[in-house]
């Protein structure tokens, strides 16, 4: 019995290896995105965008004569599913992967892509994504540290807050943004009076806020998601804490104002501009095409950033006249002239981070609309 099993196993291993060598005559592009789950609309936005740009490129003759084949995989926004997707896409022989939406899912898949030499471009903003030294990873958004520097400058130099309280949850995105912001505030000479962590979705934040109240901060900077942020803002008001409230980019959602109710007015949110505010011609054309094809606006700027990442990789391959992923990465890490992108000019630092930043501060008005009060 045991011998049979071993023989079967060895045979099958051999078969598997042979399959890996099979010839590819299309350029396979994987999409790893939360197509179902809590972030489904963002994930579908990424997939739709990639399919649209792939169709546009294919219509013009493809990439160096090869047609693009899009292979999607649903990571459901969970780390485990992301790990499975990574193995699956690598087995299917993709040479690049677009996505995922959340930093956690991108990070869960990173090492698998690195081991297989598959390029990965994600809008995940957690700084840890580029700290492993994987040459395969290219960030098409701006890292938390860029947002942190902008937020710290706004709080310390523009608004002149004397004492700052920072709150985050445990996710790698939120904790990373909070820690980076604290470091930047200290660098700018500001004073962080407390750093508190909350459990996401736990609803009752009054014990933490009560502690914050005793520190008498001028402002509360919240680095987590809108579903907690709205409740945090409401409970802050209910406890009579007079401080201003500034939310990080993940608070930029209409539900924030609904949750906070009448307390929403006057809260600030820091984020990159929304798709309709992009001034570039290439953006206007692409968004018009997107609306024509899918009958709606792209859900957010994040999907467009992913498409810029994909365009950059294809640009590098065409420039090199080679599908070699390592050569493409080398080119992108040393670009002398940035590529014109949908979300602004795009170029990468040696560690795979996108260079630059384009943040704005929005203030929530009485009718829950935004007013841009400060821009980078």
């Amino acid at each position: 019995m045991k011998r049979t099993i071993r023989n079967v196993m060895l045979t099958l291993c051999a078969v598997a290896m042979m399959a890996g060598l099979s010839w590819a005559d299309t350029l396979k592009v994987g999409v790893q995105a939360p197509i179902t789950g809590s972030y489904a609309n963002e994930g579908q936005g990424i997939e739709n965008g990639v399919r649209l740009i792939a169709a546009q490129i294919n219509a013009k003759g493809g990439v160096m004569g090869k047609q693009i084949e899009v292979i999607p995989c649903d990571d459901q926004g969970t780390a485990m599913a992301a790990a499975i997707c990574a193995k699956d896409l690598v087995n299917k022989g993709v040479s690049m992967v677009i996505g995922s939406y959340t930093s956690t899912c991108a990070e869960a898949a990173q090492k698998t892509y690195f081991n297989a030499g598959v390029l990965q471009t994600s809008d995940g903003t957690a700084d840890s994504l580029t700290e492993h030294g994987y040459w395969t990873f290219l960030r098409n958004s701006f890292p938390n540290s860029a947002e942190a520097a902008f937020a710290a400058n706004y709080m310390v130099n523009v608004k002149g807050y004397k004492s700052i309280a920072v709150v985050s949850d445990f996710s790698s995105y939120a904790a990373g943004l909070a820690e980076a912001t604290i470091a930047e505030i200290k660098k700018a000479g500001g004073n962080v009076v407390t750093y508190a962590k909350i459990k996401a979705d736990s609803q009752n934040f009054t014990p933490v806020l009560t502690n914050i109240k005793s520190k008498k901060p001028d402002v509360i900077f919240f680095a987590g998601y809108y579903s907690d942020g709205g409740q945090l803002r409401a409970q802050q008001k209910a406890l009579g804490i007079k401080a201003d409230f500034i939310g990080g980019d993940a608070n930029d959602n209409p539900d924030f104002s609904k949750l906070a109710g009448s307390s929403a007015q006057g809260a600030y949110i820091i984020n990159v501009p929304s798709p309709d505010a992009l001034p570039y011609d290439i953006a206007k054309t692409f968004i018009a095409d997107y609306q024509k094809t899918y009958g709606m606006m792209p859900p957010s700027i994040w999907g467009l950033m992913n498409i810029d990442g994909m365009r950059a990789i294809i640009h590098a391959m065409e420039h090199n006249q080679s599908f070699d992923t390592k050569k493409a990465a080398d080119y992108l890490h040393n670009m002398d002239k940035p590529l014109e992108g949908i979300t602004g000019s795009i170029s990468f630092a040696k560690d795979g981070n996108r260079k630059g930043g384009a943040y704005v501060v929005k203030e929530i008005q009485a009718d829950n609309s935004y007013k841009i009060v400060h821009a980078q």
Binding site: I5, M9, L12, C13, A79, I84, A108, K111, T112, F170
Partner: protein, 318 residues
């Protein structure tokens, strides 16, 4: 029944041995998870079914094994296979330490306490205690198992690894049934007072059941970490324990019952993936219905070697 044991069991092994070659990669993944969950459900059966202790925290030991393998591999560079002994022994020791103070508790209190252990465990790994658990993300990019220098990277090889672990577990379970410890557990589940009065140290045997169940679940954890090359806190939430708890009770505390239980509770929902939003709704009804129609499970445990006419009278306890 006898015939079924004689022919059904080898038939099952043969079918399972050739199965992965007939499946595509998605169903291979489902089949591997089926094997792993069966092992965990069998380990849960030792504690819940055989010893009769209301344990709703089995995902704790499962997760502990997975995390031990992941931490030793990613942080200390141990080969995956070398982590197996630790992934069995450490959960078993924890099983003894945790069970020690609580085995005397009445059924429902034990249930809540074990839920508590499970939730504390998840919070510990989420809060990244000692900086080795990777926090809410978990640990990714583990090595694959290598035997004699051959890397078992393909899904099929992971399948056979999981299958070997299942066969080992079934072997342990069969021996347990026939051993002194197995009989002792059976008596104490049927009637603790009577078991004590004939000189069985119930406390020791209950703790033994916990330790054995924890060790096997830990081993299953290693296989789980191998399959995904990753571990993450959400895979070991106490809701998973609820699943294992339900598998044993819906299936019935017997090996065929547990296989049916895992199939019904895990593979069927995978088959009906298209009805993703409806499946747990229907599934809840199915659980209620199964209990109303077969309160002792779909395939309840037989009473071993005791003649039928003797057991007719005593149908209390379960």
């Amino acid at each position: 029944m006898k015939n079924l044991e004689r022919f059904g069991f080898p038939a099952f092994i043969v079918v399972m041995a050739i199965l992965p070659n007939l499946l595509n990669s998605r169903w291979q993944a489902v089949a591997i998870t089926f094997l792993i969950f069966t092992v965990v459900a069998l380990s849960q059966d030792i504690i819940l079914g055989k010893a009769g202790m209301f344990n709703m925290g089995q995902a704790l030991f499962f997760g502990m094994g997975a995390y031990i393998t992941a931490i030793l591999n990613s942080q200390y560079g141990w080969p995956m296979l070398a982590t197996i002994p630790v992934a069995i022994i450490l959960p078993a020791i924890f099983g003894v330490l945790l069970a020690g103070p609580i085995v005397h508790l009445r059924g429902d209190y034990l249930l809540v306490t074990t839920i508590g252990f499970n939730i504390v465990f998840v919070q510990v790994v989420q809060n990244n205690l000692g900086g080795v658990t990777g926090g809410p993300n978990g640990i990714f990019g583990l090595d694959s198992i290598s035997i004699f220098g051959t890397q078992l990277t393909s899904q099929i090889s992971v399948y056979y690894f999981a299958f070997a672990v299942l066969l080992l577990t079934l072997f342990v379970m069969r021996n347990l049934e026939k051993s002194k410890a197995g009989r002792a557990l059976h008596y104490l589940r049927e009637d603790q007072l009577a078991a004590e009065s004939i000189g069985i140290n119930t406390r020791i045997y209950k703790i033994f059941a916990f330790a054995l169940g924890a060790g096997i679940a830990g081993l299953a954890g290693t296989v789980f970490a191998t399959q995904y090359s990753a571990v993450s806190p959400e895979a070991f939430e106490f809701i998973q324990s609820v699943l294992f708890f339900s598998i044993v009770l819906v299936g019935g505390s017997s090996i065929p019952g547990i296989l049916i239980g895992v199939f019904v509770m895990f593979v069927l929902p995978e088959i009906f993936r298209e009805f993703a939003t409806w499946r747990f709704f229907i599934f809840g009804f199915a659980m209620i219905l199964a209990m109303i129609l077969r309160p002792r499970g779909i395939w309840p445990a037989s009473f071993g070697k005791i003649p039928k006419f003797l057991i007719k009278e005593s149908n209390h306890g379960a």
